[in-house]
C-alpha cells in the first residue's frame, strides 16, 4: 500500500501537467495509493502516524529536497520504505539516490530497488548524507570523547559525511584556506563529533540550520529507501527487493 505526500509547492498551476503525467504512469505501473496534499492544515507528522495505523508499506515524497529531509525526521519513519520523486532537475537528494526528476522517477518506484541507510543526527535533526560547516579563524572539534582537533586558517569548510552502509562512522574532511595560494585538507574517521562556538549557518543534507553548538552522532535508526540504478556507490549494500505494486491510484 502506497501513500503519496505532495509538497505544498505542487499547488502551483505550473505543476499540474507534471502531476497528471506522474499519476498516469504510477497507475500504469500499478502503484496506486492514497494522496495527501501537504499544507497549513495537513502536517507531515500527522500523516505518517495515520499511515502507521493504516499499515501502509511505502511513503513517497513528491517535491523538493526539503520535503524529503522533513520525512526523514518524521516519527516512526523507519517502519516504512521511503521513496522520493524530485521536482527539481538539480535535486541533490535525487542525484544521490539515483532517482531522475519528475515523472521519470515512476520507473524507479516500479523497480523498487531498496537500500538500508543508517541515519545520523545533528542536534536531534536526522540526516543521511552530509553536513557542511563553514568556519573562519580558529575552530575546535571534539571527537569520540577522546581527542580534540584544532584548525587554524583564514577560512575553510568542514564536511562531515555519513557512510550509510559502513559501520557507524563519519568521514570528516577539513578543507582549510591558509592563504591565497595555500590550501590544505585533512581527513578523519570518527563516531561522535562535538562543535562549539559555531558562527555561521550550516547545511544538513542541503538544508540550512543555524546553531552555535552541534553534536553529531549516529542514531539506531535504519531507513529503507527506494533507489535508482545511478545511485551513489556509497549506498550500495547487499539488500535488493523484488518488484511489487498493486491497486489503482486514488484521486483525493
Amino acid at each position: 500500500m502506497y501513500a503519496y505526500l505532495y509538497d505544498p509547492v505542487l499547488r502551483q498551476r505550473t505543476f499540474r501537467g507534471f502531476l497528471d503525467r506522474l499519476e498516469t504512469r504510477l497507475t500504469d505501473f500499478g502503484l496506486g495509493g492514497k494522496i495527501y496534499r501537504l499544507g497549513p492544515l495537513l502536517h507531515l507528522n500527522e500523516i505518517v502516524l495515520e499511515e502507521t495505523r493504516r499499515k501502509a508499506k511505502t511513503i513517497v515524497a513528491i517535491g523538493t529536497d526539503r520535503l524529503f529531509h522533513q520525512l526523514l525526521n518524521a516519527p516512526n519513519i523507519q517502519n516504512f520504505v521511503v521513496g522520493f520523486v524530485p521536482i527539481n532537475p538539480h535535486s541533490a537528494i535525487g542525484t544521490l539516490l539515483g532517482v531522475p526528476p519528475q515523472e521519470a522517477a515512476a520507473t524507479v518506484l516500479a523497480h523498487r530497488i531498496t537500500r538500508s541507510l543508517h541515519l545520523a543526527s545533528a542536534n536531534a535533526v536526522r540526516f543521511f548524507w552530509e553536513l557542511s560547516i563553514p568556519f573562519s579563524g580558529s575552530t575546535t572539534l571534539k571527537c569520540d570523547d577522546c581527542y580534540a582537533v584544532t584548525l587554524s586558517g583564514d577560512s575553510g569548510l568542514i564536511t562531515v559525511r555519513n557512510a550509510p552502509s559502513i559501520d557507524a562512522q563519519f568521514m570528516t574532511t577539513l578543507h582549510i584556506k591558509q592563504s591565497l595560494w595555500h590550501r590544505s585538507h585533512s581527513v578523519f574517521h570518527n563516531q561522535k563529533i562535538l562543535f562549539e562556538g559555531l558562527k555561521q549557518e550550516i547545511l544538513i543534507d542541503g538544508q540550512p540550520l543555524g546553531v552555535e553548538r552541534l553534536k553529531i552522532e549516529h542514531v539506531p535508526t535504519v531507513l529503507r529507501v527506494i533507489v535508482g540504478r545511478n545511485r551513489h556507490e556509497a549506498l550500495d549494500n547487499v539488500e535488493v527487493a523484488a518488484v511489487s505494486g498493486a491497486g489503482a491510484l486514488a484521486m483525493a
Binding site: Y147, A148, V149, T150, I176, S184, H185, H189
Partner: protein
C-alpha cells in the same frame, strides 16, 4: 637510497590525514594508515602504518605497525615491524622496533631496543614408561 620522497605510501590511501594547520590533542587511535603533517599532542596509536612528514611535530607516545618519520617526535616510539627515519627527522625518546633504518643526518636521542624475532619452541615428545620399557627391551 635515502633520498626518496617523504610520502612513503600514498596519502590518498591513508585513512587519516592530519594536515599542516591542524593540531590533534588527546588519545588518537586509528585502525588504518595515518599521515601526520601537522601537530599531535598526547598519544598516537595505529594498527597500520604511520607517516610523519617533514615539518610535522608529534609530542606523544607513538605506537604503530610500521612508521616512516621525516618530522619531529618528542616521545617514545614502539613499532612492531619497520621504522624508517629520514635525514630530516628528529626523535627525542626511546625507540623500539623490529627493523630500524636511519638516514645520515637523522637524529635519534634516546634508548634503542631491537625486538628479536621469537623462534617457535621445539616440540618435545615425552615417552610413557611402557614405551620406554618396550624400546629398551
Amino acid at each position: 637510497m635515502f633520498g626518496k620522497s617523504e610520502d612513503a605510501g600514498s596519502n590518498r590511501d591513508a585513512e587519516t590525514i592530519i594536515g599542516p594547520s591542524v593540531k590533534v590533542d588527546g588519545d588518537f587511535t586509528s585502525q588504518g594508515d595515518v599521515v601526520v603533517q601537522g601537530m599531535v599532542v598526547g598519544t598516537l596509536k595505529t594498527e597500520k602504518s604511520l607517516c610523519v612528514s617533514a615539518g610535522a611535530v608529534i609530542r606523544a607516545d607513538v605506537r604503530a605497525n610500521s612508521a616512516f618519520i621525516a618530522g619531529e617526535v618528542h616521545g617514545n616510539i614502539k613499532i612492531s615491524e619497520k621504522l624508517e627515519v629520514t635525514n630530516s627527522a628528529k626523535i627525542f625518546g626511546d625507540v623500539e622496533a623490529r627493523s630500524l633504518l636511519i638516514a645520515e643526518g637523522g637524529v635519534l636521542q634516546g634508548k634503542c631496543t631491537m625486538v628479536k624475532e621469537e623462534k617457535p619452541a621445539k616440540a618435545v615428545h615425552l615417552e610413557t614408561p611402557r614405551k620406554a620399557a618396550a624400546a629398551a627391551g
